[in-house]
């Protein structure tokens, strides 16, 4: 099976940091974003680690992914779709699919031994594309 990234939330770690700061700040979004930009990636890493430690995975749902899966059997798609109802598949032909999901689901797949190889193939594609490198490193040690 081949995984190709079609689209992702722009600057995913910053998006997660924005969602996290939204919970604790009364400021307008532009001020939160400016603060996050000023504090930089190390602070985003800190927030991400806090979210994972506290199991506040809701903030990670804003990191969305659109993927092309080529050569995936219908049965395998059914298994993933049944286990992860927030993963949405669109059939393109017998073996090719569009998959829409968020990074929370990716973490949950990674933590489930049955689906870790599938999650790992997505993480590998993200890594190859240089997408969410900070996220990959904190969430998957990849």
């Amino acid at each position: 099976m081949k995984v190709s990234l079609v689209w992702h939330s722009p600057s995913p770690e910053r998006v997660i940091a924005v969602a996290m700061r939204r919970c604790y700040s009364t400021k307008p979004i532009e001020e939160i974003q400016a603060e996050l930009d000023q504090k930089g990636e190390e602070y985003w890493r800190y927030l991400l680690m806090r979210a994972l430690q506290d199991k506040s995975l809701d903030v990670i749902e804003h990191y969305c992914l659109e993927l092309l899966l080529e050569g995936m059997e219908k049965n395998d798609v059914s298994h993933v779709a049944m286990a992860f109802p927030f993963a949405k598949f669109m059939m393109l032909n017998e073996k090719d699919w569009l998959l829409s999901m968020n990074a929370r689901t990716l973490i949950e797949m990674w933590r489930d031994v049955r689906f870790k190889p599938f999650a790992a193939s997505i993480v590998e594609e993200l890594k190859g594309r240089g997408v969410g490198l900070l996220f990959n490193s904190v969430a998957f040690g990849a």
Binding site: P10, A19, C23, Y24, D58, H62, L92, N102
Partner: protein, 176 residues
């Protein structure tokens, strides 16, 4: 109230994939594959209680465990604003609630407990990520005339932003 679209799925990227697989573009079929992330500021908690009933979305909202509360940070419905006696009664009730909040915190009660006296009129801020399919369902329900004015206003703003960003998907609202 202010609504801002922070980002949305690049529909062209999806269309390129469809073309590469000789699949024709059908707006209804890609509704689960397009997401919008919104920032929503200064609507009441009355409205966000209604909004989060739409469960197929991701929400992160300003927590009252950490934020402050004041009369200025409250929404006043037009039906109250336009009625002098009602506005007076409303102000008295809100003043009592906010004074109660201040009193409790000054007595050492943590904000997370003092907030129990705060009114639903209080303004709030949140981010929301939602698929086009889920947003369409929200639009269908919450822009109806029987919906309350504030959520109708909020959802209309969200719909206008989504329409502008991805007009092809919004040629018709798919009723579900």
């Amino acid at each position: 109230m202010r609504v801002k679209l922070l980002f949305h799925t690049d529909l062209e990227a999806i269309k390129r994939v469809l073309r590469s697989k000789n699949v024709s573009f059908d707006p209804e079929k890609v509704l689960d594959h397009v997401v919008y992330m919104f920032e929503i500021e200064d609507c009441s908690r009355v409205t966000t209680h209604q909004l989060v009933r739409h469960r197929l979305a991701s929400y992160d909202q300003e927590s009252q465990r950490f934020s402050s509360a004041s009369r200025e940070g409250s929404v006043t419905p037009v039906s109250i604003q336009s009625n002098e006696s009602a506005l007076k009664a409303y102000d008295v009730a809100l003043k009592a609630a906010y004074e109660g909040f201040e009193k409790l915190t000054s007595l050492g009660v943590p904000k997370e407990d003092a907030r129990y006296v705060l009114p639903s009129a209080i303004k709030t801020k949140l981010v929301m990520t939602v698929t086009a399919r889920s947003l369409m369902h929200i639009v269908w329900q919450r822009t109806a005339m029987q919906a309350q004015w504030e959520i109708r206003d909020l959802v209309t703003k969200m719909m206008d932003l989504a329409k502008e960003a991805t007009p092809e998907l919004w040629a018709k609202i798919i009723e579900r």
